[in-house]
Symmetry: C3
Subunit: 221 residues, 3 copies
Protein backbone atom coordinates (compact mmCIF):
# COMPACT_ATOMS: atom_id res chain seq x y z
CA UNK A 1 0.00 0.00 0.00
CA UNK A 2 2.98 2.31 0.70
CA UNK A 3 4.27 1.65 -2.81
CA UNK A 4 0.87 2.33 -4.23
CA UNK A 5 0.61 5.71 -2.57
CA UNK A 6 4.15 6.63 -3.62
CA UNK A 7 3.51 5.59 -7.22
CA UNK A 8 0.25 7.44 -7.45
CA UNK A 9 1.92 10.53 -5.97
CA UNK A 10 4.42 10.66 -8.82
CA UNK A 11 1.64 10.51 -11.37
CA UNK A 12 -0.34 13.04 -9.34
CA UNK A 13 2.07 15.86 -10.22
CA UNK A 14 1.57 15.15 -13.92
CA UNK A 15 -2.20 14.96 -13.48
CA UNK A 16 -2.24 18.29 -11.65
CA UNK A 17 -0.17 19.91 -14.40
CA UNK A 18 -2.46 18.64 -17.15
CA UNK A 19 -5.65 19.68 -15.35
CA UNK A 20 -4.20 23.06 -14.49
CA UNK A 21 -3.59 23.71 -18.20
CA UNK A 22 -7.35 23.39 -18.72
CA UNK A 23 -7.91 26.10 -16.10
CA UNK A 24 -5.24 28.31 -17.62
CA UNK A 25 -6.81 28.00 -21.07
CA UNK A 26 -10.24 28.96 -19.70
CA UNK A 27 -8.65 32.05 -18.12
CA UNK A 28 -6.84 32.95 -21.33
CA UNK A 29 -10.11 32.71 -23.27
CA UNK A 30 -11.66 35.14 -20.77
CA UNK A 31 -8.66 37.47 -21.22
CA UNK A 32 -7.76 37.30 -17.53
CA UNK A 33 -4.50 38.88 -16.41
CA UNK A 34 -1.47 36.82 -15.35
CA UNK A 35 -2.68 36.55 -11.76
CA UNK A 36 -6.09 35.33 -12.92
CA UNK A 37 -4.50 32.73 -15.20
CA UNK A 38 -2.37 31.41 -12.33
CA UNK A 39 -5.33 31.25 -9.95
CA UNK A 40 -7.51 29.46 -12.47
CA UNK A 41 -4.73 26.96 -13.16
CA UNK A 42 -4.39 26.36 -9.41
CA UNK A 43 -8.14 26.00 -8.88
CA UNK A 44 -8.59 23.68 -11.84
CA UNK A 45 -5.56 21.52 -11.03
CA UNK A 46 -6.00 21.36 -7.27
CA UNK A 47 -9.56 22.49 -6.49
CA UNK A 48 -11.02 18.99 -6.61
CA UNK A 49 -8.46 17.73 -4.11
CA UNK A 50 -9.02 20.78 -1.89
CA UNK A 51 -12.77 20.05 -1.79
CA UNK A 52 -11.94 16.41 -0.98
CA UNK A 53 -9.59 17.28 1.87
CA UNK A 54 -11.95 19.86 3.38
CA UNK A 55 -14.86 17.39 3.22
CA UNK A 56 -12.92 14.57 4.88
CA UNK A 57 -11.33 16.91 7.42
CA UNK A 58 -7.71 16.46 6.28
CA UNK A 59 -6.61 20.07 6.70
CA UNK A 60 -4.69 21.95 5.48
CA UNK A 61 -5.45 20.40 2.06
CA UNK A 62 -2.50 19.21 -0.02
CA UNK A 63 -3.66 21.68 -2.67
CA UNK A 64 -2.37 24.54 -0.52
CA UNK A 65 0.35 22.80 1.49
CA UNK A 66 2.25 20.60 -0.97
CA UNK A 67 5.08 22.48 -2.71
CA UNK A 68 5.33 20.03 -5.57
CA UNK A 69 1.61 20.15 -6.37
CA UNK A 70 1.27 23.94 -6.05
CA UNK A 71 4.38 24.50 -8.17
CA UNK A 72 3.06 22.04 -10.78
CA UNK A 73 -0.24 23.94 -11.00
CA UNK A 74 1.40 27.39 -11.17
CA UNK A 75 3.95 26.18 -13.73
CA UNK A 76 1.07 24.93 -15.87
CA UNK A 77 -0.60 28.34 -15.52
CA UNK A 78 2.57 30.17 -16.52
CA UNK A 79 3.16 27.81 -19.44
CA UNK A 80 -0.41 28.35 -20.62
CA UNK A 81 -0.08 32.12 -20.34
CA UNK A 82 3.05 32.11 -22.51
CA UNK A 83 2.34 29.24 -24.89
CA UNK A 84 -1.45 29.28 -25.26
CA UNK A 85 -1.57 29.61 -29.06
CA UNK A 86 0.45 26.38 -29.32
CA UNK A 87 -1.66 24.61 -26.71
CA UNK A 88 -4.81 25.38 -28.62
CA UNK A 89 -3.35 23.46 -31.58
CA UNK A 90 -2.69 20.47 -29.33
CA UNK A 91 -6.42 20.18 -28.61
CA UNK A 92 -6.68 16.46 -29.30
CA UNK A 93 -3.69 15.51 -27.13
CA UNK A 94 -5.01 17.75 -24.38
CA UNK A 95 -8.34 15.90 -24.35
CA UNK A 96 -6.57 12.56 -23.95
CA UNK A 97 -4.28 13.89 -21.21
CA UNK A 98 -7.27 15.41 -19.42
CA UNK A 99 -9.01 12.02 -19.45
CA UNK A 100 -5.84 10.46 -17.97
CA UNK A 101 -5.79 13.11 -15.23
CA UNK A 102 -9.46 12.40 -14.48
CA UNK A 103 -8.73 8.69 -14.06
CA UNK A 104 -5.76 9.27 -11.77
CA UNK A 105 -7.59 11.83 -9.62
CA UNK A 106 -10.61 9.59 -9.12
CA UNK A 107 -8.58 6.54 -8.11
CA UNK A 108 -6.22 8.53 -5.89
CA UNK A 109 -9.01 10.59 -4.31
CA UNK A 110 -11.22 7.63 -3.51
CA UNK A 111 -8.39 5.58 -2.03
CA UNK A 112 -7.12 8.51 0.06
CA UNK A 113 -10.57 8.97 1.58
CA UNK A 114 -10.92 5.23 2.28
CA UNK A 115 -7.46 5.27 3.84
CA UNK A 116 -8.55 8.08 6.20
CA UNK A 117 -11.69 6.13 7.20
CA UNK A 118 -14.15 8.55 5.60
CA UNK A 119 -16.61 5.70 4.98
CA UNK A 120 -17.65 4.02 1.73
CA UNK A 121 -20.23 6.49 0.46
CA UNK A 122 -18.26 9.60 1.41
CA UNK A 123 -15.14 8.11 -0.22
CA UNK A 124 -17.04 7.47 -3.43
CA UNK A 125 -18.40 11.04 -3.47
CA UNK A 126 -15.08 12.74 -2.74
CA UNK A 127 -13.33 10.46 -5.22
CA UNK A 128 -15.64 11.73 -7.96
CA UNK A 129 -15.24 15.30 -6.66
CA UNK A 130 -11.45 14.99 -6.83
CA UNK A 131 -11.83 14.20 -10.51
CA UNK A 132 -14.51 16.64 -11.58
CA UNK A 133 -14.48 19.35 -8.86
CA UNK A 134 -11.65 21.42 -10.33
CA UNK A 135 -13.52 21.83 -13.61
CA UNK A 136 -16.73 22.84 -11.84
CA UNK A 137 -14.90 25.49 -9.79
CA UNK A 138 -13.12 26.70 -12.96
CA UNK A 139 -16.42 27.20 -14.77
CA UNK A 140 -17.98 28.99 -11.77
CA UNK A 141 -15.00 31.35 -11.48
CA UNK A 142 -15.17 32.34 -15.15
CA UNK A 143 -18.89 32.98 -14.82
CA UNK A 144 -20.18 29.99 -16.76
CA UNK A 145 -22.60 27.20 -15.92
CA UNK A 146 -20.42 24.15 -15.25
CA UNK A 147 -19.98 22.38 -18.59
CA UNK A 148 -20.21 18.98 -16.95
CA UNK A 149 -23.85 19.53 -15.93
CA UNK A 150 -25.21 20.16 -19.38
CA UNK A 151 -22.85 18.86 -22.08
CA UNK A 152 -24.27 15.33 -21.92
CA UNK A 153 -20.79 13.81 -22.18
CA UNK A 154 -19.74 10.76 -20.25
CA UNK A 155 -17.26 12.57 -18.05
CA UNK A 156 -18.71 12.12 -14.59
CA UNK A 157 -20.08 8.65 -15.38
CA UNK A 158 -16.64 7.03 -15.82
CA UNK A 159 -15.55 8.89 -12.67
CA UNK A 160 -18.46 7.46 -10.67
CA UNK A 161 -17.86 3.99 -12.09
CA UNK A 162 -14.16 4.20 -11.22
CA UNK A 163 -14.75 5.44 -7.68
CA UNK A 164 -17.34 2.72 -7.08
CA UNK A 165 -14.92 0.08 -8.36
CA UNK A 166 -12.21 1.31 -5.98
CA UNK A 167 -14.68 1.10 -3.07
CA UNK A 168 -15.64 -2.46 -4.01
CA UNK A 169 -12.01 -3.55 -4.41
CA UNK A 170 -11.17 -1.98 -1.05
CA UNK A 171 -14.02 -3.74 0.73
CA UNK A 172 -13.30 -7.11 -0.83
CA UNK A 173 -9.60 -6.90 0.01
CA UNK A 174 -8.57 -6.89 -3.66
CA UNK A 175 -7.10 -3.40 -3.50
CA UNK A 176 -3.51 -3.62 -4.77
CA UNK A 177 -1.11 -1.80 -7.06
CA UNK A 178 -2.37 -3.87 -9.97
CA UNK A 179 -6.05 -3.51 -9.36
CA UNK A 180 -5.58 0.26 -8.90
CA UNK A 181 -3.84 0.44 -12.27
CA UNK A 182 -6.68 -1.55 -13.82
CA UNK A 183 -9.23 0.96 -12.51
CA UNK A 184 -7.22 3.87 -13.95
CA UNK A 185 -7.12 2.14 -17.33
CA UNK A 186 -10.83 1.30 -17.07
CA UNK A 187 -11.86 4.92 -16.41
CA UNK A 188 -9.54 6.27 -19.09
CA UNK A 189 -10.71 3.69 -21.62
CA UNK A 190 -14.39 4.31 -20.86
CA UNK A 191 -13.92 8.06 -21.20
CA UNK A 192 -12.03 7.85 -24.51
CA UNK A 193 -14.41 5.22 -25.90
CA UNK A 194 -17.40 7.41 -25.06
CA UNK A 195 -15.76 10.30 -26.93
CA UNK A 196 -14.88 8.14 -29.93
CA UNK A 197 -18.34 6.61 -30.17
CA UNK A 198 -20.30 9.73 -29.20
CA UNK A 199 -22.09 8.17 -26.24
CA UNK A 200 -24.17 10.70 -24.33
CA UNK A 201 -26.18 11.11 -21.15
CA UNK A 202 -29.94 11.67 -21.57
CA UNK A 203 -31.21 15.21 -21.07
CA UNK A 204 -34.57 16.81 -20.67
CA UNK A 205 -36.60 16.79 -23.86
CA UNK A 206 -33.64 15.57 -25.84
CA UNK A 207 -32.92 12.60 -28.03
CA UNK A 208 -29.82 10.42 -27.76
CA UNK A 209 -27.87 11.75 -30.71
CA UNK A 210 -24.10 11.86 -30.29
CA UNK A 211 -22.15 15.07 -30.62
CA UNK A 212 -18.68 13.92 -31.52
CA UNK A 213 -18.19 16.79 -33.94
CA UNK A 214 -17.99 20.16 -32.31
CA UNK A 215 -18.28 19.48 -28.60
CA UNK A 216 -16.28 16.33 -28.22
CA UNK A 217 -13.78 17.56 -25.65
CA UNK A 218 -14.11 19.23 -22.25
CA UNK A 219 -11.03 21.32 -22.99
CA UNK A 220 -12.57 22.73 -26.04
CA UNK A 221 -15.88 24.18 -25.06
Amino acid sequence: MENLVAGVNVLEVVAVFVSAVSGGLAAVRKRFDLFGVLVLAWVCGLGGGILRDVLIGDTPPVGISSWKLVVAALAAGLATFVLHPGLTRLRRSVIVLDAAALSLFVVQGTSKALDLDAGLLASLVVGVLTGVGGGVLRDMLVGEVPLIFADRQLYAVPAILGAATVVVLWETGWWTWWSALCVVVLVLGFRLLSLALGWVVPHVGGGWTGRWGRESGKMDA
Copy 2:
Protein backbone atom coordinates in the same frame (compact mmCIF):
# COMPACT_ATOMS: atom_id res chain seq x y z
CA MET B 1 -33.05 14.63 23.59
CA GLU B 2 -32.31 11.24 21.98
CA ASN B 3 -35.93 10.95 20.95
CA LEU B 4 -35.85 14.46 19.55
CA VAL B 5 -32.86 13.76 17.35
CA ALA B 6 -34.39 10.47 16.16
CA GLY B 7 -37.70 12.11 15.35
CA VAL B 8 -36.10 15.01 13.51
CA ASN B 9 -33.97 12.51 11.53
CA VAL B 10 -37.06 10.81 10.16
CA LEU B 11 -38.49 14.13 8.99
CA GLU B 12 -35.05 15.09 7.64
CA VAL B 13 -35.29 12.54 4.82
CA VAL B 14 -38.58 14.06 3.70
CA ALA B 15 -37.17 17.58 3.95
CA VAL B 16 -34.14 16.61 1.86
CA PHE B 17 -36.37 15.04 -0.80
CA VAL B 18 -38.57 18.13 -1.04
CA SER B 19 -35.64 20.54 -1.21
CA ALA B 20 -33.87 18.38 -3.76
CA VAL B 21 -36.90 18.61 -6.04
CA SER B 22 -36.36 22.37 -6.13
CA GLY B 23 -32.77 21.82 -7.32
CA GLY B 24 -33.90 19.27 -9.88
CA LEU B 25 -36.48 21.68 -11.28
CA ALA B 26 -33.87 24.44 -11.60
CA ALA B 27 -31.66 22.01 -13.53
CA VAL B 28 -34.53 20.93 -15.77
CA ARG B 29 -35.29 24.58 -16.58
CA LYS B 30 -31.65 25.02 -17.62
CA ARG B 31 -31.89 21.86 -19.77
CA PHE B 32 -29.13 20.13 -17.86
CA ASP B 33 -28.47 16.46 -18.61
CA LEU B 34 -29.39 13.65 -16.21
CA PHE B 35 -26.09 13.96 -14.32
CA GLY B 36 -26.59 17.70 -13.91
CA VAL B 37 -30.14 17.21 -12.62
CA LEU B 38 -28.93 14.67 -10.05
CA VAL B 39 -26.09 16.93 -8.88
CA LEU B 40 -28.36 19.96 -8.56
CA ALA B 41 -30.88 17.89 -6.58
CA TRP B 42 -28.07 16.72 -4.29
CA VAL B 43 -26.65 20.23 -3.84
CA CYS B 44 -30.03 21.78 -3.19
CA GLY B 45 -31.21 19.07 -0.79
CA LEU B 46 -27.96 18.56 1.09
CA GLY B 47 -25.73 21.58 0.34
CA GLY B 48 -26.95 23.59 3.32
CA GLY B 49 -26.14 20.73 5.68
CA ILE B 50 -22.76 20.19 4.02
CA LEU B 51 -21.86 23.86 4.59
CA ARG B 52 -23.02 23.48 8.21
CA ASP B 53 -20.93 20.39 8.86
CA VAL B 54 -17.80 21.83 7.21
CA LEU B 55 -18.15 25.06 9.21
CA ILE B 56 -18.56 23.26 12.55
CA GLY B 57 -15.87 20.71 11.72
CA ASP B 58 -18.11 17.63 11.68
CA THR B 59 -16.49 15.85 8.73
CA PRO B 60 -17.30 14.02 6.57
CA PRO B 61 -20.64 15.87 6.32
CA VAL B 62 -23.81 13.76 6.49
CA GLY B 63 -24.63 15.12 3.03
CA ILE B 64 -21.93 12.88 1.55
CA SER B 65 -21.82 10.07 4.12
CA SER B 66 -25.43 9.24 4.96
CA TRP B 67 -26.94 6.65 2.58
CA LYS B 68 -30.51 7.55 3.41
CA LEU B 69 -30.00 11.28 2.82
CA VAL B 70 -27.98 10.88 -0.38
CA VAL B 71 -30.46 8.35 -1.76
CA ALA B 72 -33.35 10.69 -0.87
CA ALA B 73 -31.71 13.57 -2.76
CA LEU B 74 -30.84 11.47 -5.83
CA ALA B 75 -34.31 9.89 -5.88
CA ALA B 76 -35.79 13.37 -5.88
CA GLY B 77 -33.51 14.30 -8.77
CA LEU B 78 -34.51 11.23 -10.77
CA ALA B 79 -38.20 11.80 -10.03
CA THR B 80 -37.88 15.40 -11.16
CA PHE B 81 -36.09 14.39 -14.35
CA VAL B 82 -38.87 11.95 -15.25
CA LEU B 83 -41.93 13.71 -13.85
CA HIS B 84 -41.10 17.40 -14.18
CA PRO B 85 -44.14 18.42 -16.25
CA GLY B 86 -46.37 17.08 -13.47
CA LEU B 87 -44.29 18.73 -10.74
CA THR B 88 -44.65 22.10 -12.41
CA ARG B 89 -48.42 21.77 -12.06
CA LEU B 90 -48.02 21.06 -8.34
CA ARG B 91 -46.45 24.50 -7.85
CA ARG B 92 -48.58 25.55 -4.90
CA SER B 93 -48.04 22.32 -2.96
CA VAL B 94 -44.33 22.51 -3.69
CA ILE B 95 -44.14 26.00 -2.15
CA VAL B 96 -45.78 24.77 1.05
CA LEU B 97 -43.56 21.67 1.22
CA ASP B 98 -40.49 23.83 0.61
CA ALA B 99 -41.48 26.05 3.54
CA ALA B 100 -41.86 22.94 5.70
CA ALA B 101 -38.39 21.75 4.66
CA LEU B 102 -36.96 25.18 5.50
CA SER B 103 -38.44 24.99 9.01
CA LEU B 104 -37.13 21.50 9.65
CA PHE B 105 -33.64 22.27 8.34
CA VAL B 106 -33.30 25.40 10.46
CA VAL B 107 -34.39 23.73 13.69
CA GLN B 108 -32.36 20.59 13.06
CA GLY B 109 -29.26 22.50 11.88
CA THR B 110 -29.22 24.91 14.80
CA SER B 111 -29.73 22.17 17.40
CA LYS B 112 -27.04 19.95 15.83
CA ALA B 113 -24.51 22.78 16.02
CA LEU B 114 -25.47 23.57 19.64
CA ASP B 115 -25.16 19.87 20.44
CA LEU B 116 -21.61 19.86 19.03
CA ASP B 117 -20.67 22.93 21.09
CA ALA B 118 -20.23 25.26 18.15
CA GLY B 119 -21.25 28.24 20.30
CA LEU B 120 -24.42 30.34 20.23
CA LEU B 121 -23.66 32.71 17.36
CA ALA B 122 -22.07 30.07 15.13
CA SER B 123 -25.04 27.75 15.78
CA LEU B 124 -27.47 30.47 14.78
CA VAL B 125 -25.53 31.18 11.58
CA VAL B 126 -25.16 27.55 10.52
CA GLY B 127 -28.81 26.88 11.42
CA VAL B 128 -29.87 29.56 8.95
CA LEU B 129 -27.33 28.25 6.41
CA THR B 130 -28.75 24.73 6.75
CA GLY B 131 -32.10 26.15 5.70
CA VAL B 132 -31.13 28.56 2.94
CA GLY B 133 -27.64 27.40 1.84
CA GLY B 134 -28.83 24.73 -0.59
CA GLY B 135 -30.86 27.24 -2.55
CA VAL B 136 -27.96 29.70 -2.72
CA LEU B 137 -25.60 26.99 -4.04
CA ARG B 138 -28.30 25.87 -6.53
CA ASP B 139 -28.61 29.39 -7.93
CA MET B 140 -24.84 29.84 -8.16
CA LEU B 141 -24.44 26.52 -10.01
CA VAL B 142 -27.07 27.42 -12.61
CA GLY B 143 -25.39 30.79 -13.13
CA GLU B 144 -27.95 33.00 -11.45
CA VAL B 145 -27.74 35.56 -8.68
CA PRO B 146 -29.17 33.84 -5.59
CA LEU B 147 -32.89 34.54 -5.58
CA ILE B 148 -32.93 34.92 -1.82
CA PHE B 149 -30.74 38.05 -1.95
CA ALA B 150 -32.98 40.10 -4.16
CA ASP B 151 -36.54 38.74 -4.23
CA ARG B 152 -37.55 40.66 -1.08
CA GLN B 153 -39.46 37.67 0.26
CA LEU B 154 -39.49 36.71 3.91
CA TYR B 155 -37.57 33.48 3.43
CA ALA B 156 -34.38 34.08 5.40
CA VAL B 157 -36.17 36.16 8.04
CA PRO B 158 -38.28 33.26 9.39
CA ALA B 159 -35.13 31.12 9.26
CA ILE B 160 -33.19 33.64 11.37
CA LEU B 161 -36.09 34.00 13.79
CA GLY B 162 -36.37 30.22 14.12
CA ALA B 163 -32.64 29.68 14.68
CA ALA B 164 -32.56 32.46 17.29
CA THR B 165 -35.52 30.91 19.08
CA VAL B 166 -33.78 27.52 19.20
CA VAL B 167 -30.67 29.18 20.67
CA VAL B 168 -32.74 30.94 23.35
CA LEU B 169 -34.65 27.75 24.24
CA TRP B 170 -31.36 25.84 24.45
CA GLU B 171 -29.76 28.42 26.73
CA THR B 172 -32.78 28.69 29.02
CA GLY B 173 -33.08 24.91 29.33
CA TRP B 174 -36.49 24.86 27.64
CA TRP B 175 -35.29 22.82 24.66
CA THR B 176 -37.54 19.76 24.40
CA TRP B 177 -39.40 17.72 21.80
CA TRP B 178 -42.39 19.99 22.23
CA SER B 179 -40.60 23.31 22.08
CA ALA B 180 -38.71 22.11 18.97
CA LEU B 181 -42.00 21.27 17.29
CA CYS B 182 -43.34 24.70 18.24
CA VAL B 183 -40.37 26.39 16.55
CA VAL B 184 -40.91 24.35 13.37
CA VAL B 185 -44.57 25.40 13.32
CA LEU B 186 -43.60 29.01 14.06
CA VAL B 187 -41.14 29.22 11.16
CA LEU B 188 -43.52 27.46 8.78
CA GLY B 189 -46.45 29.64 9.81
CA PHE B 190 -44.43 32.84 9.51
CA ARG B 191 -43.21 31.85 6.05
CA LEU B 192 -46.68 30.92 4.76
CA LEU B 193 -48.29 33.98 6.33
CA SER B 194 -45.72 36.25 4.69
CA LEU B 195 -46.56 34.65 1.33
CA ALA B 196 -50.31 34.93 1.86
CA LEU B 197 -50.14 38.55 2.98
CA GLY B 198 -47.38 39.63 0.60
CA TRP B 199 -44.99 40.85 3.31
CA VAL B 200 -41.62 41.93 1.90
CA VAL B 201 -38.16 42.99 2.95
CA PRO B 202 -37.13 46.59 2.11
CA HIS B 203 -34.80 47.07 -0.82
CA VAL B 204 -32.73 49.93 -2.14
CA GLY B 205 -34.81 52.67 -3.72
CA GLY B 206 -37.93 50.58 -3.47
CA GLY B 207 -41.27 50.93 -1.79
CA TRP B 208 -42.91 48.28 0.36
CA THR B 209 -45.41 46.93 -2.12
CA GLY B 210 -46.12 43.23 -1.90
CA ARG B 211 -45.59 40.96 -4.87
CA TRP B 212 -47.86 38.02 -4.17
CA GLY B 213 -48.83 37.68 -7.82
CA ARG B 214 -46.01 36.56 -10.02
CA GLU B 215 -43.12 35.98 -7.66
CA SER B 216 -44.79 34.46 -4.66
CA GLY B 217 -42.81 31.22 -4.45
CA LYS B 218 -39.11 30.38 -4.31
CA MET B 219 -39.75 27.24 -6.36
CA ASP B 220 -41.22 29.21 -9.12
CA ALA B 221 -38.72 31.84 -10.09
Copy 3:
Protein backbone atom coordinates in the same frame (compact mmCIF):
# COMPACT_ATOMS: atom_id res chain seq x y z
CA MET C 1 3.32 37.62 20.58
CA GLU C 2 0.25 37.90 22.83
CA ASN C 3 0.35 41.67 22.47
CA LEU C 4 0.68 41.37 18.76
CA VAL C 5 -2.41 39.20 18.42
CA ALA C 6 -4.40 41.52 20.70
CA GLY C 7 -3.33 44.61 18.77
CA VAL C 8 -4.12 43.08 15.41
CA ASN C 9 -7.53 41.99 16.75
CA VAL C 10 -8.50 45.59 17.50
CA LEU C 11 -7.61 46.66 13.99
CA GLU C 12 -9.36 43.58 12.62
CA VAL C 13 -12.79 44.94 13.55
CA VAL C 14 -12.08 48.11 11.58
CA ALA C 15 -10.76 46.11 8.63
CA VAL C 16 -13.87 43.91 8.62
CA PHE C 17 -16.13 46.97 8.68
CA VAL C 18 -14.32 48.61 5.77
CA SER C 19 -14.29 45.44 3.65
CA ALA C 20 -17.92 44.75 4.42
CA VAL C 21 -18.85 48.18 3.05
CA SER C 22 -17.43 47.04 -0.29
CA GLY C 23 -19.77 44.03 -0.23
CA GLY C 24 -22.72 46.18 0.76
CA LEU C 25 -22.07 48.58 -2.11
CA ALA C 26 -21.91 45.70 -4.61
CA ALA C 27 -25.28 44.48 -3.29
CA VAL C 28 -26.80 47.96 -3.49
CA ARG C 29 -25.66 48.27 -7.11
CA LYS C 30 -27.42 44.98 -7.87
CA ARG C 31 -30.56 46.29 -6.11
CA PHE C 32 -30.53 43.47 -3.58
CA ASP C 33 -32.98 43.64 -0.67
CA LEU C 34 -31.90 44.41 2.90
CA PHE C 35 -31.16 40.74 3.63
CA GLY C 36 -29.02 40.48 0.50
CA VAL C 37 -27.08 43.62 1.42
CA LEU C 38 -26.36 42.25 4.91
CA VAL C 39 -25.24 38.86 3.55
CA LEU C 40 -22.97 40.45 0.96
CA ALA C 41 -21.44 42.69 3.63
CA TRP C 42 -20.85 39.63 5.82
CA VAL C 43 -19.35 37.57 2.99
CA CYS C 44 -17.10 40.38 1.80
CA GLY C 45 -15.92 41.36 5.29
CA LEU C 46 -15.52 37.88 6.73
CA GLY C 47 -15.51 35.45 3.80
CA GLY C 48 -11.74 35.51 3.37
CA GLY C 49 -11.23 34.64 7.03
CA ILE C 50 -13.89 31.92 6.84
CA LEU C 51 -12.07 30.30 3.90
CA ARG C 52 -8.81 30.56 5.89
CA ASP C 53 -10.26 28.93 9.00
CA VAL C 54 -11.95 26.12 7.06
CA LEU C 55 -8.74 25.40 5.14
CA ILE C 56 -6.57 25.27 8.26
CA GLY C 57 -9.21 23.33 10.22
CA ASP C 58 -9.91 26.00 12.86
CA THR C 59 -13.68 25.50 13.09
CA PRO C 60 -16.08 27.10 13.69
CA PRO C 61 -14.47 30.05 11.81
CA VAL C 62 -14.29 33.38 13.64
CA GLY C 63 -16.38 34.80 10.79
CA ILE C 64 -19.43 32.97 12.17
CA SER C 65 -18.52 32.71 15.86
CA SER C 66 -17.08 36.08 16.86
CA TRP C 67 -19.78 38.54 17.97
CA LYS C 68 -17.61 41.59 17.45
CA LEU C 69 -16.62 40.62 13.89
CA VAL C 70 -20.13 39.57 12.82
CA VAL C 71 -21.65 42.72 14.31
CA ALA C 72 -19.01 44.84 12.58
CA ALA C 73 -19.84 43.27 9.21
CA LEU C 74 -23.62 43.56 9.65
CA ALA C 75 -23.32 47.14 10.92
CA ALA C 76 -21.34 47.97 7.78
CA GLY C 77 -24.08 46.36 5.68
CA LEU C 78 -26.80 48.33 7.43
CA ALA C 79 -24.83 51.56 7.15
CA THR C 80 -24.31 50.93 3.44
CA PHE C 81 -28.00 50.19 2.90
CA VAL C 82 -28.99 53.48 4.53
CA LEU C 83 -26.12 55.76 3.54
CA HIS C 84 -25.03 54.40 0.15
CA PRO C 85 -25.41 57.65 -1.83
CA GLY C 86 -22.98 59.31 0.58
CA LEU C 87 -20.56 56.37 0.47
CA THR C 88 -20.41 56.54 -3.30
CA ARG C 89 -19.13 60.11 -2.98
CA LEU C 90 -16.40 58.93 -0.59
CA ARG C 91 -14.97 56.71 -3.32
CA ARG C 92 -11.38 57.85 -2.94
CA SER C 93 -11.31 57.38 0.84
CA VAL C 94 -12.95 54.01 0.46
CA ILE C 95 -10.18 52.84 -1.89
CA VAL C 96 -7.51 53.82 0.63
CA LEU C 97 -9.39 52.19 3.51
CA ASP C 98 -9.87 49.04 1.44
CA ALA C 99 -6.12 48.88 0.82
CA ALA C 100 -5.53 49.23 4.57
CA ALA C 101 -7.98 46.39 5.23
CA LEU C 102 -6.19 44.23 2.65
CA SER C 103 -2.85 44.82 4.42
CA LEU C 104 -4.24 43.99 7.85
CA PHE C 105 -6.05 40.86 6.67
CA VAL C 106 -3.00 39.47 4.90
CA VAL C 107 -0.66 39.99 7.86
CA GLN C 108 -3.19 38.74 10.41
CA GLY C 109 -4.27 35.76 8.28
CA THR C 110 -0.75 34.59 7.52
CA SER C 111 0.39 34.88 11.13
CA LYS C 112 -2.71 33.09 12.45
CA ALA C 113 -2.06 30.16 10.12
CA LEU C 114 1.63 30.02 11.09
CA ASP C 115 0.60 30.16 14.74
CA LEU C 116 -1.67 27.13 14.22
CA ASP C 117 1.15 25.20 12.51
CA ALA C 118 -0.46 25.11 9.08
CA GLY C 119 2.98 25.05 7.44
CA LEU C 120 4.79 27.74 5.43
CA LEU C 121 3.18 27.32 2.03
CA ALA C 122 -0.35 26.82 3.36
CA SER C 123 0.06 29.87 5.62
CA LEU C 124 1.14 31.99 2.66
CA VAL C 125 -1.85 30.82 0.59
CA VAL C 126 -4.44 31.35 3.32
CA GLY C 127 -2.88 34.69 4.21
CA VAL C 128 -3.46 35.89 0.65
CA LEU C 129 -6.97 34.32 0.70
CA THR C 130 -7.79 36.18 3.92
CA GLY C 131 -7.04 39.39 2.07
CA VAL C 132 -8.62 38.75 -1.32
CA GLY C 133 -11.12 35.90 -0.70
CA GLY C 134 -13.98 38.09 0.48
CA GLY C 135 -13.93 40.10 -2.73
CA VAL C 136 -13.87 36.96 -4.88
CA LEU C 137 -16.88 35.50 -3.03
CA ARG C 138 -18.66 38.87 -3.31
CA ASP C 139 -18.21 38.93 -7.08
CA MET C 140 -19.34 35.31 -7.45
CA LEU C 141 -22.49 35.96 -5.39
CA VAL C 142 -23.49 38.97 -7.49
CA GLY C 143 -22.96 36.91 -10.64
CA GLU C 144 -19.80 38.58 -11.90
CA VAL C 145 -16.40 37.25 -12.86
CA PRO C 146 -14.12 38.12 -9.93
CA LEU C 147 -12.67 41.56 -10.66
CA ILE C 148 -9.32 40.59 -9.25
CA PHE C 149 -8.71 38.00 -11.99
CA ALA C 150 -9.01 40.34 -14.91
CA ASP C 151 -8.58 43.97 -13.87
CA ARG C 152 -4.77 43.82 -14.11
CA GLN C 153 -4.38 45.82 -10.91
CA LEU C 154 -1.70 45.10 -8.34
CA TYR C 155 -4.11 43.94 -5.65
CA ALA C 156 -3.12 40.31 -5.15
CA VAL C 157 0.55 40.99 -5.81
CA PRO C 158 1.05 43.17 -2.69
CA ALA C 159 -0.95 40.56 -0.76
CA ILE C 160 1.35 37.75 -1.93
CA LEU C 161 4.43 39.86 -1.21
CA GLY C 162 3.14 40.68 2.27
CA ALA C 163 2.26 37.08 3.13
CA ALA C 164 5.66 35.89 1.90
CA THR C 165 7.40 38.53 4.02
CA VAL C 166 5.49 37.39 7.11
CA VAL C 167 6.52 33.78 6.44
CA VAL C 168 10.18 34.80 6.07
CA LEU C 169 10.11 36.94 9.24
CA TRP C 170 8.47 34.06 11.13
CA GLU C 171 11.07 31.54 9.99
CA THR C 172 14.02 33.80 10.72
CA GLY C 173 12.74 34.66 14.19
CA TRP C 174 12.28 38.35 13.32
CA TRP C 175 8.51 38.27 13.77
CA THR C 176 7.62 40.99 16.27
CA TRP C 177 5.07 43.75 16.78
CA TRP C 178 7.32 46.11 14.88
CA SER C 179 8.11 43.90 11.95
CA ALA C 180 4.41 43.06 11.61
CA LEU C 181 3.60 46.76 11.47
CA CYS C 182 6.29 47.24 8.82
CA VAL C 183 4.72 44.53 6.65
CA VAL C 184 1.29 46.20 6.95
CA VAL C 185 2.81 49.51 5.88
CA LEU C 186 4.73 47.79 3.08
CA VAL C 187 1.63 46.14 1.61
CA LEU C 188 -0.45 49.30 1.96
CA GLY C 189 2.27 51.46 0.44
CA PHE C 190 2.82 49.08 -2.46
CA ARG C 191 -0.91 48.93 -3.19
CA LEU C 192 -1.38 52.72 -3.08
CA LEU C 193 1.79 53.36 -5.09
CA SER C 194 0.63 50.93 -7.77
CA LEU C 195 -2.67 52.83 -7.97
CA ALA C 196 -0.97 56.21 -8.10
CA LEU C 197 1.51 55.18 -10.77
CA GLY C 198 -0.84 52.95 -12.76
CA TRP C 199 1.27 49.79 -12.49
CA VAL C 200 -0.44 46.76 -14.01
CA VAL C 201 -0.15 43.01 -14.32
CA PRO C 202 0.41 41.63 -17.83
CA HIS C 203 -2.55 40.05 -19.58
CA VAL C 204 -3.05 37.92 -22.65
CA GLY C 205 -2.53 39.80 -25.87
CA GLY C 206 -2.27 43.08 -24.01
CA GLY C 207 0.36 45.75 -23.68
CA TRP C 208 1.49 47.22 -20.38
CA THR C 209 -0.44 50.44 -20.48
CA GLY C 210 -1.69 51.72 -17.15
CA ARG C 211 -5.36 52.34 -16.49
CA TRP C 212 -5.31 54.87 -13.67
CA GLY C 213 -8.24 56.77 -15.13
CA ARG C 214 -11.47 54.85 -15.05
CA GLU C 215 -10.68 51.61 -13.29
CA SER C 216 -8.28 52.68 -10.62
CA GLY C 217 -10.13 51.33 -7.58
CA LYS C 218 -11.48 47.91 -6.62
CA MET C 219 -14.42 49.55 -4.86
CA ASP C 220 -15.44 51.31 -7.95
CA ALA C 221 -15.68 48.74 -10.66
